[in-house]
Symmetry: C2
Subunit: 166 residues, 2 copies
DNA sequence: GATTGACCTGTTACAGTATCACATACCATA
DNA sequence: TATGGTATGTGATACTGTAACAGGTCAATC
């Protein structure tokens, strides 16, 4: 039941969890995916992914670039953009359109175009499975339109921020 | 039956139609909405909406700004952004995240958070009703997450561009 | 008529996001 | 070692968006 497990993983972005382990496991999965696909997870790319994995937030390209530059990698915008684009193309990260920012993919390897849930208070971003959403979009499109990719992002308040506000 | 009529209107963005009339009617509706809401459709704002209504494409803020400047309005970015933000807030235009661009709302006055269909060939943008999509997103979110706004955008090929490619 | 206050328009300056173009370095393999 | 593909570094530049402030317009009120 992929939906249930993905849902659990998604929920964890908004729940207390052992994040060090969460990040390490996801990184290990990403490495396996890269090897299997014959892609090279070079130092810049790997470090970029690690930076994204440090939190469940989406980071701007220049936020990533600052981190990379501080660690001795290049300090020009293309350094960050190339690494981020690679990760996105490889399915190891996602771009969050609404924030013009990037987040690590929390279950790499599985083909998926997730829906993103963005908490407007703590800025955490979670992925949830989106098959039903895509089906709804396809159903809403006029007959001749061929839907190829769907971007769906929701802004709201996560459980803990709601609790804090109340 | 709002769904059916909205669907027909959406389909028209990808279909041959009397666009002058389409734009004029939408502008008239927008004016009525603005009056009803006590909002002022000033010259800059009105002209901005007209520019968006000239096509079913989404225009970048600077594209709009160039047009405004050429017609004697201010030539600084805030001029365009303020007009566009006003139109979006008033429900007379929408922002298309994926393109960092703006499109006129084709059925102003009705509360709606539409799904956008973007043709990657001709760049036309259509709105389609999205109630089912929002429901699917809400259903996919973990229990504690309160969804407030949903952005859904689909990229694909419209019927006529598919025909042209074949 | 003068004053007030809300709103609108305009400007400067700048912050953040993204790409182009080119040079160089690395690495696998023949 | 020669070669070709891939990755990285660098500078420049384009595109997108916002903050802060000055002045103008207009209606309501004094």
């Amino acid at each position: 039941m992929p939906t249930a497990s993905a849902g659990a993983a998604a929920a964890s972005a908004f729940a207390a969890h052992d994040h060090a382990r969460c990040a390490a496991e996801t990184l290990a999965q990403a490495e396996a995916v890269a090897v299997a696909a014959g892609l090279r997870l070079t130092p810049v790319r790997r470090r970029t992914l690690e930076i994204l994995l440090e939190s469940h937030r989406a980071l701007g390209a220049y936020e990533v670039l600052d981190r990379l530059a501080a660690e001795g990698f290049g300090r020009q915008p293309p350094v960050a953009y190339r690494a981020l684009d690679f990760l996105v193309d490889a399915g190891l990260a996602h771009r969050v359109q609404r924030l013009n920012a990037f987040a690590a993919c929390m279950h790499p390897g599985r083909a998926h175009q997730p829906v993103f849930l963005i908490c407007r208070s703590c800025n955490a971003v979670a992925e949830v499975p989106a098959a039903a959403v895509h089906a709804a979009v396809a159903a809403a499109a006029p007959p001749g339109f061929a839907v190829e990719r769907v971007t769906a992002e929701a802004v709201g308040l996560c459980a803990s921020c709601r609790g804090a506000a109340a």
